[in-house]
Amino acid sequence: MTDHRERSRWNPKEMWRAIDRAGMKGVTIAIIIFIAVAFLGPLVWTDSPTQVNLEDAVKAPSLAHPFGTDEYGRDVLARFLGGAKLSLIVGVCSVLAAALIGMVIGSIIGLVGGFTDGVIGRMLDGILAFPALIMGMALALAIGPGALAAGLAVAITGIPWYARVVRSEVLSLREREFIDAERALGASRRHIIIRHLIPAVTGGVAVQASLGVAYAVLAIAALGFIGLGVQPPTPEWGAMITEGRTYLTSGQWWMSIIPGFGILALVTISILFGEALRDHLDPHGKLHF
């Protein structure tokens, strides 16, 4: 039996062609490069991100230190690479957690509807009143600043967004005739959810999650910037910007400015990926996610 379609699923060449057709080649390459830099970078550039060397403090970029050194003489490139890895891991993990929980809540309230939908919906709206930065501050006070508080803040504030996307998709799917056809055939509710609803909402959730990573990276860096994020000496982009800030007015710009480009790059890539995915999944702009 000729079964092109199912065999092709595991064929990297075919996958690449599919990515190309979807117009996502550029952004996929960018993601691969970024991940490579974050995870393989520290293996190539082996300077320690935390080794204090006061003799080398505040040195402008040079061959030995392409991104210069900071006030404790630590290599900015090494810290930059460390920050990349940290942003990526904390950002992606917290978004995954939020997406998973949001998906469950969203599909439940979308299916059950009625009073439950109303109450849980208002609760989620209540969470929406708190931006991740504010939530992060409060959590930092409550459980102590660090990667956990930052990630938790991003995850909690993210849940309503995913729940909303999933809820509205479930609501529109519920009206679709193929779901009625399934019911007429005698499908159980569980069968409909697992076989039909969940695969149908993953696209929207993936788009939202990709934009969510962008938002998470910004929020985590902002927390670091006001001193309530990941604590020193762990390299973190937001904290690095604060640390270098005092030197900025005297023209020693690299400590603050360089990590900012890292944030900009990661956030931009996430947004572009999310938008490309959305354009591919929803070319006619019917959904507002």
Binding site: G118, V119, R122, M123, D125, G126, I127, L128, A129, F130, P131, A132, L133, I134, M135, M137, A138, L139, A140, L141, A142, I143, A214, L218, A221, A222, F225, I226, G227, L228, G238, I241, R245, L248, T249, S250, G251, W253, S256, I257, P259, G260, I263, L264, A265, V267, T268, I271, L272, E275, H284, G285, H288
Partner: protein, 337 residues
């Protein structure tokens, strides 16, 4: 219409309740002892315990919540142990500074975003491309970092911006208080120099705060306009012989603004968070600066007060957007469900 308003208000009350519970819980589950903070490390354990009773910290959580909300409804947001100034007073003096910054940022972003979004939805590809680059970079730039870059370029290198501290340069007195917005008050008092100085101080922070908002607005404006232009009634308007300008302003824009309205209200929380960062960067004496200083000093009352205030404003704004949506769109206000 009446039942539509009633339902929206009811929903907002519910949201506010949940928001206040969240704000309350967040700061009550923290490990620090507020009584110890007030009295300092030297105070005796008995004195601390007595104060804890007075402050109600030993009460069960629901009672604490009710007491706290009761105080708030009477306008009492507590006292900052750090400055010993009532939070309410501090907020009242600082709100105009934040408001002024926010208003300029919003004005700037609307001026930038609406034409950009509408143009991008048009047929010319290069405009769409460049507006997209602007939007993605605008959304991707961390505002605190952007502030620093602007300071580096315009203050350190070019030296055309005033020093990044405060709302006025040294030697300028605040204009007589009317609205609390220095630019407005200065104009009202006829102090042109003060006006320009205040404006110069506003420029960089307002750009920093307004840029991500402009990027966001332009994107949703573009998508919304493009969506509307695909609809059949646009074709009807053209078939009537209406000019493109008429099609745009009479038919496309009112419909395209509807989603923009609600989505903008949703962004308000981000604007608050942004102002917190921007005020920290530019030493702006607003609410954001107050909150970030208080947070670092573990001074709970101001943080809680400001968070509640933010959540309240957010909820009311979204209620306003919903009601406005109902005014503009007759389908919403007459639908029974």
């Amino acid at each position: 219409m009446a039942s539509f308003i009633f339902k929206r208000v009811l929903a907002t009350v519910a949201v506010l309740f949940f928001a206040s519970v969240i704000a309350f819980l967040l700061l009550r589950i923290s490990p620090g002892d507020p009584a110890r903070q007030v009295l300092g490390p030297q105070a005796s354990a008995q004195a601390v315990e007595k104060l804890r009773d007075q402050m109600g910290v030993n009460d069960p959580l629901p009672k604490q919540y009710v007491d706290y909300m009761g105080d708030i409804l009477q306008g009492d947001l507590g006292i900052s142990w750090r400055t010993r100034i009532p939070v309410k007073d501090e907020l009242t003096t600082r709100i105009p500074a934040t408001l002024e910054l926010g208003l300029y940022a919003i004005a700037l972003s609307i001026i930038l975003a609406i034409p950009l979004g509408v143009l991008a939805a048009g047929s010319r590809r290069w405009i769409d491309r460049s507006s997209r680059v602007f939007a993605v970079v605008g959304l991707g730039t961390p505002p605190f970092w952007l502030g620093l870059v602007l300071i580096l370029v315009f203050f350190t290198w070019l030296a055309i911006a005033p020093p990044p501290f405060g709302r006025l340069s040294e030697g300028y007195l605040p204009p007589p208080h009317v609205t609390g917005l220095y630019t407005v008050d200065a104009l009202l008092a006829g102090q042109i120099n003060t006006f320009f100085n205040a404006l110069a101080h506003l420029a960089l922070p307002a750009i920093t705060l307004g840029l991500p908002l402009a990027a966001y607005l332009s994107r949703i404006m573009r998508r919304s306009t493009a969506d509307v232009f695909r609809l059949d009634f646009i074709r009807t308007a053209r078939a009537k012989g209406a000019s493109e300008r008429r099609v745009m302003f009479r038919h496309a824009m009112p419909n395209a603004m509807l989603p923009v309205l609600t989505l903008s209200a949703l962004y308000f929380g981000e604007l608050l968070a942004g102002s917190l960062l921007v005020e920290a960067v530019f030493g702006w004496p607003g609410v954001g600066g107050y909150v970030s200083e208080s947070v670092l000093a573990q001074d709970y009352a101001p943080v809680q007060g400001a968070i509640l205030l933010g959540a309240l404003t957010y909820c009311l704004l979204n209620l306003g957007a919903d009601l406005l949506y109902g005014v503009v769109d007759p389908r919403i206000r007459t639908s029974k469900s």
